[in-house]
């Protein structure tokens, strides 16, 4: 009996093997838990873009795409389970949308030869492609975000923020701690005074932090928050009447659901972003026609055009473009994860390409290379208008202070390389 079962299992594997025709883009999503408010729109956007490609273009290069979804609940143990469960299906690229899960997956994907794209999150120093062969975090990372925020302060102050007080309210985790070193370096350069206010997971309790802000009266508050922490912080800021235009969140703290609970009081709140906002792009007509009208929209279908939906869609677009690039490089439509990695390393996004995709000026133009997996690190600032209930981009995608960031990236990635005996590539 056992022998029979074993034979059947072998037969099943062999039968299933060659049928792997789909391009698999697993979505490690979280639609439950304290971070679900951010996880849902991102997962919807990610899934809808691939559905659009399937319905409109018949997949990528003639091969249909598949997006198996696996619920992680922002939990690292479930993240591992999801990774192990989906990697056998020929997963081309992982996007876990969680810095904790990213840290777990960095060594694993490298060993399994599957690329990992952590767009605007994860380990910042993974931007150094010489050390991190399979990790990509283009087009921007946490340290770029911190620098863009400081640059915005410089702009609004005529280039001088010497002596100003800046407070960082951050999620007390690997994610929230990331920008501290950059902000400290920038403080040395620009002469502002930095104070640090950690908020513990999940972030519902912030009374003491905001009491301290009320007492210290910083000129500006920068926030690295996620999930329910954002709403609470913005509400608390409104309660102590902190001027919203002096309150800047990172891109994970700038979605509709973060500001709406505070109502009109949130008007003027700012957020850094690396892609455009709103639904005023031709691609949304296609999504309406090919996805929504056919009843194929992911989730409840009520997130289309929100900030994080756009981000999920943008992530999917970058993955699809990288897959196309990989198909061109290797001359085959049926690509493997290793080929996908090559495609990501050779990815070039131009304005013309984005316009052709129906996403003009949706994000910065950039080119990935073997050394630089982090892109140019451009970022813009969006501002919330409570009356219209809309985010709008109030600046161009400007550069961040690479003079400060690059040495930090090199130092951190080289210490990782030394710890793990990694030989540098791209020489």
């Amino acid at each position: 009996m056992k022998k029979k079962l074993a034979t059947m299992a072998v037969a099943a594997v062999m039968a299933a093997g060659p049928v792997m025709a789909d391009l698999v883009f697993p979505s490690l999503s979280y639609r439950t838990g304290p971070y679900a408010a951010g996880g849902i729109p991102f997962a919807d956007g990610y899934a809808d873009y691939f559905t659009l490609l399937n319905e409109r273009d018949g997949g990528i290069g003639g091969v249909m795409t598949k997006v198996p979804e696996c619920e992680t609940g922002y939990n690292t143990e479930k993240g591992v389970e999801c990774y192990e469960a989906t990697k056998g299906e020929g997963a081309l690229v992982y996007q876990p949308l969680s810095t904790g899960i990213t840290y777990q997956l960095i060594p694993k994907v490298t060993a399994d030869n599957i690329p990992l794209h952590t767009m605007g999150y994860g380990r910042t120093s993974a931007a150094n492609g010489k050390v991190f062969s399979h990790i990509f975090n283009y087009p921007a990372n946490y340290w770029n975000g911190a620098s863009v925020a400081i640059n915005h302060l410089l702009d609004t102050n005529g280039g001088d923020i010497n002596g100003k007080k800046v407070a960082l309210v951050y999620h007390n985790s690997a994610y929230g701690k990331e920008p501290i070193r950059t902000l400290e370096e920038l403080a040395k350069k620009h002469g502002y005074e930095l104070s640090l206010l950690p908020v513990d997971h999940p972030g519902q309790e912030q009374k003491s932090q905001w009491l301290q802000i009320r007492r210290d009266r910083p000129d500006y508050v920068i926030m690295y928050g996620w999930g329910v922490m954002n709403q609470v912080a913005i509400q608390e800021a409104a309660n102590i009447r902190f001027p919203m235009e002096n309150f800047i969140g990172i891109w994970w703290s700038g979605a509709e659901h973060d500001v709406t609970p505070a109502g009109d009081a949130a008007n003027g709140y700012k957020s850094v972003t690396f892609h455009n906002v709103g639904s005023d792009f031709p691609i949304f007509d296609d999504i309406q026609k090919h996805v929504v009208d056919k009843g194929l929209a992911a989730g409840a279908g009520d997130q289309i055009g929100t900030v994080l939906y756009n981000r999920g869609m943008y992530a999917a677009m970058l993955a699809a473009e990288a897959a196309k690039t990989a198909q061109e490089i290797h001359g085959t439509a049926d690509i493997t994860p290793a080929m996908m990695r090559d495609g990501m390393e050779a990815l070039e996004i131009t304005e013309a390409k984005m316009t052709a995709l129906g996403m003009p000026n949706f994000g910065p133009s950039f080119k990935v290379s073997c050394e630089n997996h982090g892109g140019p690190g451009l970022g813009g600032i969006t501002q919330w208008n409570a009356a219209d209930k809309k985010w709008s981009l109030i600046s161009d995608f400007g550069p961040s202070d690479m003079d400060v960031i690059l040495p930090l990236i090199t130092a951190d990635s080289e210490s990782f390389a030394a710890e793990n005996n990694i030989e540098q590539r791209c020489n």
């Binding site: 639609r31 696996c70 619920e71 690292t76 143990e77 904790g100 840290y103 690997a174 701690k177 997971h201």
Partner: protein
């Protein structure tokens, strides 16, 4: 018939006092060990190890540790997550080379072998556990639970704040570098599935055997005496200070080992707030409650239950597949028929007895559940939205805890015990 004491003659005290006095039980135990050590390592892949076996073994060690404290000694603890964190960070420091600063000069130990790092991490946790166990000499019950809760929050805060503990890394994450035993990688990304499995299995087996013998011996009897009535125990000569603190020490040693393995072998990278939060304390406590207080087998059963259940629910409900073999399709029809049949019989039984569970009702409920499970697995998963499945999982685990607390407060271990009692008389129960 086979499961009985009769005919199994014991000729020495040692034989008489062994863990499994019944021959059948003994051979079953050897068989389980044989399968676990010799057969499973040949058959498993990354998925089985990382999603099922490693969490099962590691949580089992943690559950044994907590069971010693809660189940045997009667001291409630909600600090399990914090103690696991101590084990994880201690293991990290030992495996990367412990550094000590005295007067501005750094003294560093060389990195210690991973096996000894894990054991040392357990010892460090035992010391910390004794410190946080001191309040148990004055307070008990809910008050002690609150005191251990303080340990949980304090330790998590400490490892977030104290950058020495995470070697001053920018993000506060700790990463397990590659470490080997006899040239085989145990931690790190290029670990073979069987290697990490066997490493955890060896430690789990040793710790379980030690725990079993501790609890059968003098120290275990002292713990149980304290649990059952501390004043009476004191009167008959049990020193409560020694008994309680030794329970805290042994329990924390186990939990520390579990934390070290959890970080170094299972996850490889850990962040204290996320991995060792209050959630962890609760889940290990649930394992102990569902498995059975005061039972080593129960610790394994509870860990298996809470590790397997989410995976099983996910496979049954959330997954979906396009390719179903003809055999599976046929089987799914059979199971579907069984499901319809048992639901029908349940309805009939409900109408007849005017009660859902009277008569054969309870059996039809189980039959319906079983046929539904079989059906879902046969068709490769129901393909329901992942968020609904995640919510259902919370509901089901919560409901099971309530059911166990009401119907069988001694957990799965008691069901097992009852089954063994019945088996002893089978097939002539009178």
């Amino acid at each position: 018939m086979f499961y009985r004491e009769a005919g199994d003659y014991k000729t020495s005290y040692q034989d008489d006092g062994q863990t499994f006095p019944i021959k059948f039980d003994r051979y079953r135990y050897y068989f389980v060990l044989f399968v676990a050590f010799a057969m499973v390592p040949l058959l498993i892949n990354d998925y089985w190890v990382n999603a099922i076996f490693l969490p099962f073994l590691i949580y089992s060690i943690a559950a044994i540790g907590l069971n010693i404290l809660v189940g045997y000694c009667g001291q409630v603890s909600l600090g399990t997550g914090g103690f696991m964190a101590v084990g994880a960070y201690a293991c990290y420091k030992f495996m990367t080379g412990l550094d000590i600063w005295i007067g501005g000069v750094q003294y560093a130990l060389p990195p210690i072998n991973i096996f000894f790092s894990v054991i040392l991490a357990g010892l460090v946790t035992a010391v910390v556990g004794v410190l946080f166990g001191l309040p148990s000499l004055r307070i008990k019950g809910f008050y002690l639970a609150v005191a251990t809760l303080a340990a949980q929050f304090f330790l998590v805060w400490l490892f977030n704040k104290w950058s020495w503990a995470y070697n001053y890394s920018a993000s506060g994450q700790i990463n397990a570098p590659e470490r080997e035993i006899f040239g085989v990688a145990i931690t790190g990304p290029s670990t073979e599935a069987w290697a990490s499995y066997l490493f955890c299995l060896v430690i789990a087996t040793i710790t379980a055997i030690i725990a079993r013998n501790l609890t059968r011996g003098a120290s275990g009897r002292k713990w149980m005496a304290i649990r059952d009535m501390d004043i009476a125990a004191e009167i008959i000569g049990v020193n409560p200070l020694k008994a309680k603190l030794s329970a805290f020490a042994v329990s924390s040693f186990y939990i520390g080992i579990a934390g070290a393995l959890f970080f170094a072998v299972y996850l490889g990278a850990v962040e204290v707030g996320e991995a060792f939060g209050i959630q962890k304390s609760f889940i290990v406590l649930f394992m102990v409650i569902i498995g059975g207080l005061g039972s080593i087998f129960g610790s394994f059963a509870g860990a298996a239950f809470l590790v397997l259940l989410p995976v099983l629910l996910k496979l049954m409900l959330a997954d979906s597949t396009d390719q179903i073999s003809g055999f599976a399709t046929t089987m799914s029809w059979v199971f579907m028929a069984a499901l319809v049949g048992s639901v029908g019989m349940l309805l009939v039984s409900t109408l007849r007895h005017r009660s859902l569970i009277a008569g054969a009702g309870i059996y039809w409920i189980f039959a319906a559940l079983a046929s539904f499970m079989a059906y879902a697995l046969a068709i490769g998963g129901m393909g329901w939205p992942t968020d609904i499945v995640a919510h259902m999982q919370l509901v089901i685990v919560g409901a099971l805890i309530i059911i166990f607390l009401i119907a069988e407060p001694h957990g799965l271990a008691q069901l097992w015990r009852v089954a063994k009692e019945k088996l002893r008389l089978w097939p002539f129960p009178h």
